[in-house]
């Protein structure tokens, strides 16, 4: 899995691509942790390039979202592709996660 980051004003957009699974779920958590440490408080995670996600991936998302609540930063998840959306649906977390339709609308919400 590759993670690229892009700054849009006060918002950081993390673009993920590849498979988010047991082997790299911790990379996402680390990346978010690094962003928090360097002072970012608004993070959008773009799943447009993620073709597969397993329960460790769900764990990583939960971790990100739980830290967002605990450490007082804002986050949005966007662009779930079918396989990922299915995993989220299966675990019934669709309504639980802060989802947005696109990076643009998420950025507007966070601004």
């Amino acid at each position: 899995m590759d993670i690229t980051e892009e700054a849009r004003g006060a918002v950081t957009v993390l673009r993920l691509s590849g498979e988010l699974d047991l082997f790299n779920a911790k990379n996402l958590r680390q990346k978010v942790q690094e962003l928090l440490e360097s002072g970012w408080r608004k993070i959008i995670i773009d799943f447009g390039g993620v073709s597969y996600m397993d329960s460790s991936g769900v764990g990583a998302l939960l971790h990100v979202y739980a830290s967002a609540r605990a450490e007082n930063f804002e986050t949005r998840f966007v662009n779930f592709q079918k396989p990922v959306a299915r995993v989220i649906e299966l675990t019934k977390l669709t309504d639980y996660f802060p989802l947005s339709d696109s990076v643009e609308s998420a950025a507007e919400e966070l601004e």
Binding site: A66, T91, K92, L93, Y96
Partner: protein, 646 residues
Amino acid sequence: MGALFVLLSSPEWARLLLVIILGIYLGWTHRIYRVRSVQCLAAALLVLAIRQPAYLFFPPLPLLLATESLLLLLYTRWLSCFNREPSIFYAAHAAAAASISAALGVWLTEGGMQLGLTIAGIFLFLGQGALLFAASLYVTKYNSEEGEVIALHRVRFVSYPILFVLALIIFPEEGIFFRAVVLPLFLSYHASFTRLYHRFGRSRQERERRFTRRYLDSTFDFMRTIGTAMKERIEVDNVLDYVVSSLVDSTAADAGVIYLRNDGERKLSVRSERGYFPPPYHVSPSVRSKVGGVDQYLRATPITLGEGIFGEAVAENLEIRLEDASEDSRFRELMEDRASTITSIYAVPIQVGEEARGLLSIATTTPKKYLGRQDWDRCKVFATYCSLMLESLFNYLQLLEKQEMEREVDIAAAIQRGLLPRSIPELPGARVACFTSAAKGVSGDYYDLEKEPSGRLFGLVCDVSGKGIPASLIMVVVRTIVHMERRREYSLSRLLSLINRGIAEDLAVDRFATACIFAYDPGTRSFLFANGGHHPALLFRAAEGRFQELDTPGIPVGIDESTIYEETSTRLEPGDLVILYTDGIIEAQNRDGERFREERLREAILVNGGAEAERIVEGITEAVRLFVDGAPQYDDQTLIVLKVTE
């Protein structure tokens, strides 16, 4: 006897003596150095030695021309040892061959032809001198320390052929003055040249010996430091600091730096720096204007793998060796931009295993202070040390981690063994079978099957995120809550809520589990099901021959304390199947990265659906086993099949 007498009575004996002296000198120098650059000069001495007896058999002019041509060629070859410029190298060979052929012609022909060939030979000889001079221009003084001597004596290369030709024209070659004064003078010229080099060679030998000794000392120091680092578990950075400072101190460099990237990352960051390392990329004027701004910028700015000069060097495993950084357009551009003041720069990638993990670089920033060959050698050696050290250190840390993990696995596995049901309950009118397989000794899957006093079958399947002791603790929590609550009146949904609260209260934010609970009453054949984010229960309706999913809303347990869970029920008929499974079954991967998927699970159920519950479980696990075909198992697999028989 007569010939020997003639030889001794003529002035030729002096030449013979010279040959002997040259021979001894030659043997001596040859024994000392077996280096190519010295061999060229030894060959020059050999030519001079052979020329003396050859005077007895050949006329002097062609012999002189031929041998001097050969000598100039040898000098050119010598210079090519320091910097080979192929066009000059080949031109020199061609000119020498032509000049020697002309000399042969002078010997074999007569009259006008002979005169013409003499003039041609002389011009070719002068041309050789010019080529020699040109070759010396390519030896820049930072190539090596010999380079400095060559640069200092460059004029000799061109002046000698001119003087030689002038002497040939002014003094007739058969005259006594030519033989007694001019020839010995030229001989002494060659001798002084060789001696100069010889003396230089000796001092170089001495220097190299000193260097080797110091080098051994520092190697020893280095190894000891690494040893200590391993023993006391000192941070990698301390060792890297030591590498950079030793390297900078033992070379002409003004500054040095080590870039490394973490496992799985594409950013190289400064891990250690000595002196003020000039950034190999553009730095904005506002940063440059601040005191220490550039240095802070360097330390704070990671380099992306494959981008910029260093990024490319690491990505493609390229060494950078620029004695004069301005020869490289990329650095020239930086200097024109006044972003950087790099005079010389060396950079060697650091590899751990097969993977480029970073880069060691040294540079000089003082104008006209160049790095040399020995600096390059040291830089290479230190980079190799770095690679070895990091490799051992990583292996060591991995081993430690593995040992700790193994210990944890043992404990966790022991806990889990105690948790799983000891026997499969037997029911009237139904059979239940199960299978579980942990991926790496310890499982994140947990299941429970128990016959309640009322005769009802209670079951639970749960997939805990993560592994090891924390995951086992969640299982303990789940099991404790289940067993305590079931003593009183309960509903499945309430039980799930209690489990949810139990985990969410105590444990870290990212600990969660998908869990589902079921209860089957053989008397009424009613099947109750409550789901917390797990896969739905898969039902196979035997009468209709179709699959049906049984599910309830609710997110995984342990995430949100306030989640409300629900339950649903259905009536099973004889022949119906209920299949519960965890991710590890449908996500089992084969070597092509393909996953088993629910479709294949359903196929396997259809194929074996008529058999007994145990046989169906075997059929499914066999299908998974055939599908993965020996590929390693990454996730725990758990499967429960309930079959209604009557």
